[in-house]
């Protein structure tokens, strides 16, 4: 793919976007990249960690930096947030028909799903019914109520957060539904230095959040999503995706390996990740960075130890294979 002027500009904007978000979320450059990767791959992201690590702020900042603040105005991006609770009902998400006194008819009151960026906070606290309602929307990008099918927005990106499963009052997401999330990342605490910096400067950070600027327009994001498909993937990288997926199926410590759909998702994510990193081709670093976030939550392990060791082991072998490849063409 030749790097066109447009792409170059879009890539530049992407970098701006990352920088922009980083003014608010300190020390989370990698996580920001993953979020953008999911966005560009037309997928959704699941963030898991303890409360207070900055998941919500991240989602908010992202939404804000790609929206003009006003929804539906000059291609701006709308942002909605839903706090999931055990008593939440599906219609709270989708919306419902309410009776319009003036027109004497039921009109459809759109729920918060009809947005561009949706922050589904603490998704595993809602009942499975609600979870599945959301995930169906995510998969099909449309909502059917009664006879009517409502299309969701062209740009529909869900950032879901969840508390660690061990915590009380949670409904763990079933594996099939986890599969809908392209990427699952563990947000994690920032390092000591950054944390100190945050404490010193929390007012400034707050201020930054208030005044975050739009750096990418909706159109640009859609364009970038198009560009993603054009990122060049070397055949050896495709092979290594195949190898990793196969290895998870054959691994003695993994009960359920990755599906073919996972592999395709993996490829999509690789392309998007390359773009996020300012490249128009995928390199082994991308494979290295993405394998765990993309595949880990789709696998079922025999035990906890396997969860820690199995996938990194597979990845290590594959990275080594890639590293030892002799250059194929000049």
């Amino acid at each position: 793919m030749e790097t066109t002027h447009n792409t170059e500009q879009a890539l530049e904007h992407l970098q701006h976007l990352i920088d922009n978000i980083e003014t608010v979320i300190r020390g989370k450059r990698n996580q920001i990249k993953f979020v953008l990767t999911a966005l560009l791959a037309k997928g959704h992201i699941l963030m898991e960690d303890n409360p207070g690590t900055g998941k919500t702020v991240m989602a908010k900042t992202l939404a804000q930096s790609i929206s003009s603040g006003d929804a539906y105005v000059d291609g701006g991006v709308s942002f909605k947030r839903i706090q999931f609770t055990p008593d939440l009902l599906p219609m709270d998400l989708i919306g419902s028909h309410i009776f319009d006194e003036d027109k004497k008819e039921f009109i459809f009151k759109r729920g918060p799903l009809f947005t561009n960026v949706l922050l589904a906070d603490e998704i595993n606290r809602a009942s499975p019914k609600v979870q599945s309602a959301l995930l169906e929307c995510m998969a099909e990008n449309q909502i059917t109520i009664g006879d009517t099918t409502y299309k969701l927005n062209k740009l529909f990106f869900t950032i879901a957060t969840q508390n660690p499963i061990e915590m009380e009052g949670t409904y763990p997401l079933p594996a099939a539904q986890l599969d809908r999330f392209f990427i699952k990342i563990i947000f994690g605490y920032v390092d000591e230095e950054t944390e100190l910096e945050i404490y010193r400067n929390y007012l400034g950070i707050d201020n930054n959040l208030q005044h975050i600027k739009q750096v990418l327009s909706m159109q640009e994001i859609l364009d970038l999503q198009q560009e993603t498909e054009l990122v060049f993937v070397h055949d050896e990288i495709v092979k290594s995706v195949r190898n990793i997926v196969w290895a998870t199926r054959k691994h003695p410590e993994i009960i359920l390996g990755a599906s073919t759909r996972s592999g395709i998702t993996f490829l999509k994510c690789l392309k998007a990740y390359a773009l996020v990193n300012g490249r128009t081709f995928v390199i082994e670093d991308d494979v290295h960075d993405l394998t765990v976030p993309v595949l880990d939550h789709r696998l079922i392990y025999k035990n906890k130890e396997a969860r820690v060791n199995a996938l990194p082991g597979i990845l290590k072998a594959e990275i080594d294979r890639l590293h030892k490849l002799k250059i194929a063409h000049a």
Partner: protein, 877 residues
């Protein structure tokens, strides 16, 4: 590591088949060997091997399932103990109990050994190596104890051991790293084992082929060295091998057994012109090679003594004398130690297996002349020589081997005893001579021998020395009241229970069994105790077994012998053999075969430089330098021209027979004539060399011309001979050290060579992408050697997080370019090239600045890192 946590059936099966079965087979072989030597094992190797196998299998199956070693082994040992106690108490009778517990203990021992081996193989990582070392040590031990070391045997014993060692190490590692999820598991294993077998086969064959000469050298060295060590050595044959055949030993010990493994091997054939006064009956004489005059009471070994007084031993190295040349010891003729009944006899010795160096002749030799072996016999006899010696007419081999009923011989015996009885007393002998040859060590043991000798003589009432000797001989031949001989012949007489006990007194007073060395040794001391000067002679006993060819004698290896010579003033050394006949082994006497064609007497042997060669008239002329005429040497100065008629002559060169045309003027030759023409011209005392020369016909008939080697050829031959000389161990060690140092150097320089290879690749790569690749490889390799391993990181991470912060380089950008070249279809931009150019050569200087030389040097030699750099990672680790 995870994959190994749980028990795996495939691995267990692989252990049984690949490690267990070969180990059990090997152990069975070892146990079988042990059974041959240890009576305790009761020759029950099959059952013992079975116990070993069961122990091993049990250990495999239990430890493959991750049980703990200590408690289970403890339980097992307790069980064994209880069963043992039960057997000990349950069996009736003391003997039975002892017998059964011993047997049980043996089985238990093998079971436990198998058990431990099984445990080691399935658990302890380095056990396979330990096990191999044990095997090798055991084999070395077995080889060290062997009496006859042969190169083939070293090969046969060590090669399987070596292969086995490698096999066990390789297989245990293979099983350890088995990936049992591999669908082609069996094929993979077979493939690897097949490859391994092939490599091993090639390796061993190559080694064996390459080292065969060395092995043979070791064989020789070992053979010689062992015999020289001391008499604690269990084998003590009278003969040994030197470089060119069998020869006699340098010392004669008194323990162990007389190895007659090769008794059927013909050593040499000799023609001896020694006949009884009737002129028809051959009088065989023992062939002497050396004398033992000294006895080392520490090691109880008879030794040669080069400082013995009145040494009359003539012992030239025959192989060093050119054909037809002679070597004489005229001092022996000038100052004979005896004068009466002496005459000169001649012998021709045709060597088959006998060492080419060895000179052996009866009595006192003084002349040797290597002669050519007749063509018809060349395949049997390797070399031959003519010997002259002074023999006593009183001497004969018929001292013990007295042919019964031969009147002439019996008469001869009596006659010679009568003569010897008249011998002068020993007072006439020089003091030092008499003292030397009657010396006995002090001590109780020798006193008892002295007492015995005196008693024997007293019983017989013998006065004359020869009667004393006969009395001693009769003592050994005496029969007890049951008509059984008191002394018996035995090749393996055994040794006294106390290691330090005197073997001669043990032989004389207790055991009364022995081979020739015992009889000769005991006789020597008894004679010396009686004041008769005597020495032990070694060589070959001569048996006249054929009436067809009188004067011809065959010598087999079992005729190697030791006997006593006693000195009689005026008559000299006379042989006395007191060894009793071997009654147990009255095998059919070795047949005497057809003797080799007698080579004619070389009347004339002349050497000099060729002047002309006429191939048509068959006339050769030469400048005669020296001449041996009727065994008398003559010199010529100035050198006369000698015309030779070579029409009947055989021309030989070092390589064999050649045509006359090969002979060129200027070459040195030796001309030999057997012609009767010369027989008719006997030299007179008054003849000078020139007066003789004038009597020769012109041209003189010559039967053989040998072209002498030129200087270069001689040098080459000497070189060759040098190589054949015993291995210089210091040299071997130094060479080994040098070679291993070189090898070490090569191994240590592998990283550097690899690095140079990578940088040169980077320098010569044409395409940019390839160039970047090789540059990247070179940098990564260098960093890897320096201890900065990429390990689990991706290249970019490695550059960004390890290299750049550490060295202040710009590697991450370079890696970006490398990755771009590797994974994208984009061509490298100008900017990329500049970055790469800025980075690549300068990175090394940057690294060098920051790392000390010593650090770099020591790290660069780390071959392990190099291997690590190029090796595949283990997926599950």
């Amino acid at each position: 590591m995870l994959a190994k946590r749980y028990h795996s059936l495939k691995k267990e099966i692989a252990q049984y088949l690949l490690l267990g079965v070969p180990t059990v087979l090997l152990a069975a072989y070892a146990i079988e060997l042990a059974n041959r030597y240890l009576a305790l094992l009761e020759n029950n190797w099959f059952r013992q091997s079975l116990f070993f196998a069961v122990g091993m299998a049990a250990a495999f199956s239990i430890f493959a399932r991750r049980y703990r070693f200590t408690p289970i082994t403890a339980i097992m040992l307790v069980a064994i103990y209880i069963v043992r106690q039960f057997i000990a108490s349950g069996k009736v009778g003391e003997f039975d109990a002892f017998f059964w517990t011993v047997r049980f203990n043996t089985y238990a021992l093998f079971f436990v050994t198998g058990w431990i081996a099984g445990y080691g193989f399935s658990r302890a990582r380095f056990f396979s190596i330990a096990w191999s070392v044990i095997l090798l040590a055991a084999m070395s031990f077995v080889i060290a104890t062997l009496s006859v070391v042969k190169a083939d045997m070293i090969v046969v014993t060590f090669a399987p051991m070596l292969v086995c060692t490698f096999y066990i190490i390789y297989t245990s590692e293979l099983i350890r790293n088995l990936n049992e999820d591999d669908p082609l598991l069996i094929w993979q294993i077979l493939k690897r084992l097949g490859g391994f077998a092939l490599v091993m086969l090639l390796l061993v064959l190559g080694l064996m082929k390459y080292y065969k000469p060395q092995f043979e050298a070791v064989e020789k060295e070992w053979g010689a060295g062992k015999k020289q060590e001391d008499n604690n050595n269990p084998s003590n044959s009278l003969t040994r091998k030197d470089g060119s055949g069998t020869t006699t030993n340098n010392s004669m010990g008194l323990s162990g057994f007389n190895n007659k493994a090769n008794k059927d091997s013909v050593l040499f054939v000799a023609k001896l012109d020694n006949f009884f006064p009737d002129g028809k009956t051959p009088n065989p004489l023992y062939f002497t090679t050396d004398y033992f005059t000294k006895f080392d009471s520490e090691t109880q070994t008879f030794e040669k003594d080069s400082l013995r007084p009145y040494n009359d031993l003539f012992s030239p190295d025959v192989s060093q004398i050119p054909l037809f040349f002679t070597k004489q010891d005229t001092t022996l003729l000038a100052k004979p130690t005896a004068t009466k009944f002496r005459r000169v006899a001649t012998a021709e010795v045709y060597k088959h297996n006998l060492s080419a160096r060895l000179y052996t002749a009866p009595s006192t030799g003084f002349f040797v002349q290597p002669v050519s072996v007749p063509d018809e016999n060349k395949d049997i006899y390797r070399s031959a020589y003519r010997a002259k010696m002074l023999v006593s007419e009183l001497n004969s081999a018929y001292f013990v081997y007295n042919p019964a009923g031969n009147k002439d011989l019996e008469q001869f015996q009596q006659q010679r005893f009568d003569v010897l009885r008249k011998s002068k007393g020993f007072e006439s002998l020089p003091r030092n001579f008499y003292d030397y040859y009657t010396y006995i060590p002090r001590g109780y043991d020798y006193d008892s021998i002295r007492a015995l000798a005196n008693q024997i003589v007293k019983e017989k009432g013998a006065v004359a020395p020869v009667d004393k000797i006969i009395a001693v001989r009769d003592y050994f031949l005496k029969k007890d009241e049951n008509g059984q001989p008191t002394f018996k012949y035995s090749d393996n007489p055994g040794i006294p229970g106390m290691p330090s006990a005197n073997k001669l007194t043990y032989f004389l007073f207790q055991n009364k069994k022995g081979y020739c060395a015992y009889y000769a040794g005991a006789t020597l001391f008894m004679l010396r105790a009686l004041g008769i000067p005597s020495r032990v002679a070694t060589g070959f006993l001569t048996v006249d077994r054929s009436g067809k060819n009188p004067g011809w004698y065959w010598f087999y290896e079992d005729q190697a012998h030791a006997w006593v010579q006693a000195y009689f003033p005026e008559y000299g050394w006379i042989d006395f053999d007191t060894t009793v006949p071997n009654e147990d082994q009255q095998q059919a006497p070795q047949p005497d075969q057809t003797p080799p064609l007698t080579s004619q007497t070389a009347w004339l042997v002349a050497n000099g430089k060729t002047i002309s060669v006429d191939t048509v008239k068959k006339i050769v002329t030469m400048e005669m330098e020296k001449m041996l005429y009727w065994d008398q040497p003559y010199d010529f100065t100035p050198r006369p021209t000698f015309r030779m008629d070579v029409s009947m002559a055989k021309i030989t060169h070092d390589t064999g027979q050649v045509a006359l045309s090969v002979l060129k003027p200027g070459e040195n030759i030796v001309a030999v004539s057997y012609s009767t023409t010369f027989k008719d011209i006997p030299p007179k005392e008054t003849d000078s060399s020139y007066s003789l020369f004038k009597k020769f016909p012109d041209p003189s008939p010559i039967d053989e011309i040998k072209i002498m080697l030129s200087e270069e050829e001689k040098a080459a031959l000497q070189q060759k001979q040098k190589e054949e000389q015993p291995t210089d161990w210091a040299k071997v060690i130094i060479n080994t050290l040098i070679v291993s140092l070189l090898l070490l150097l090569i191994v240590l320089s592998i990283p550097y060579i690899t690095f140079r290879f990578l940088t040169s690749k980077a320098a010569t790569a044409r395409e940019r992408g390839k160039q970047v690749y090789w540059q990247y490889m070179a940098v990564m390799f260098y960093l890897n050697q320096m201890g900065f391993e990429k390990d689990q990181l991706t290249p970019l991470q490695f550059a960004r997080t390890v290299v750049d912060p550490h060295f202040g380089t710009n590697m991450s950008e370079f890696v970006n370019i490398y990755l771009k070249a590797k994974y994208s279809r984009l061509s490298l931009s100008e900017r990329d090239t500049t970055v790469a150019q800025n980075f690549y050569p300068s990175v090394f200087s940057k690294l060098k600045q920051q790392l000390k030389f010593g650090f770099r040097f020591s790290h660069f030699m780390n071959v392990k890192r190099t291997i690590h750099f190029f090796s595949k990672p283990n997926i599950y680790s």
